[in-house]
Symmetry: C2
Subunit: 174 residues, 2 copies
DNA sequence: AAAGATTGAAGATTCAATCTTA
DNA sequence: TAAGATTGAATCTTCAATCTTT
């Protein structure tokens, strides 16, 4: 091994990974758009906010959670504010900071969309795997992210060149 | 189960999948860009062409291979032609069709980039998994794509949602 | 009419530069 | 000086419409 090609098993894992991600995210995005007029990216923003105390997070923390650059998140939050699902709030203790916060409409939209999304994740992904396979995947992804399992000690960089990649996402600062 | 949240194992598999994909593709893209001035998407185009007889493929076949829309591929091939790595050729037997074909420069660029890419895929992904885990992943992804393994018979659609059957009907994007 | 491919217009995401505050 | 956030410009991708050929 280690010449110009991947071994069959390695190739199947790598190409399968790419194909599943593409098909799955397109499908879940389309389902959310069709049923609730919300993209998968937007859903993830609502999800992390809904899981946060008072339904709000600092922009940077939110950007790290949803795997978007800072500027990318700024634009997405702009759109969600325009749509009435979020509002911005200033930070009392650090005036450089800004919060994105769920509105009542945002909470309602999230609650409505959540069953659709969960059904999609189960139907198109989890239900095809036994509990054992799910455990195996979770462990494998953890190894890839945090290092270990093979010849190489370190995992994927937290900021590959500029992107945040740890799971679970770092907690907001008090 | 089956209420409002995923079980821990399922959650780890799903979120891990998203995080690994994001971190991994950003990292591989950055490495190819830095070492060979070529994006991951462009690399994949060169890869599929290099694997084809005479180094050429129909635009549609290429689009399906690299997980891009038809128009998206048209634009990418435009850029690669401008960069001298590809050229277009007409289809003798079906004059609606068009080929994208590797130039000598395209072959050279691909050969130069390939070791970088393979090293990246191994270092950041495969090397963290044992051969057993790689097999497990490959099998799991195959189940997800082609159906099976769980409660649900069908796999992921090749093309997402043609269905206009949704409630409420789509209108604006979130 | 349907299939292969391209184009115009619009949307989403990022980098680099900028502004404000710490 | 650095950190949090936003903006302008550029890039990439897609959808819908279009053109050509079958």
């Amino acid at each position: 091994m280690r010449e110009g090609v991947l071994e069959p098993g390695a190739l199947a894992a790598w190409r399968g990974f790419l194909r599943v991600h593409s098909a799955l995210t397109k499908q879940l995005d389309a389902e959310l758009l069709a049923s609730h007029r919300i993209s998968l990216s937007s859903y993830e923003v609502l999800l992390f906010l809904a899981d946060s105390p008072e339904g709000r997070l600092r922009m940077s923390d939110l950007a790290d959670s949803v795997l978007l650059s800072r500027s990318g998140l700024t634009r997405l939050v702009d759109r969600l504010c325009r749509g009435g699902l979020l509002e911005r709030a200033s930070c009392e203790d650090d005036r450089r900071g800004a919060y994105a916060r769920l509105t009542d409409a945002g909470v309602a939209r999230f609650e409505a969309a959540r069953p659709t999304h969960l059904r999609g994740v189960r139907e198109h992904f989890l239900d095809h795997l036994g509990a054992t396979d799910q455990e195996a995947l979770g462990r494998a992804f953890d190894l890839v992210l945090n290092g270990g399992g093979g010849d190489v000690p370190g995992g994927l960089p937290k900021k590959p060149l500029p992107s945040g990649t740890s799971f679970p996402p770092p907690r907001a600062k008090g």
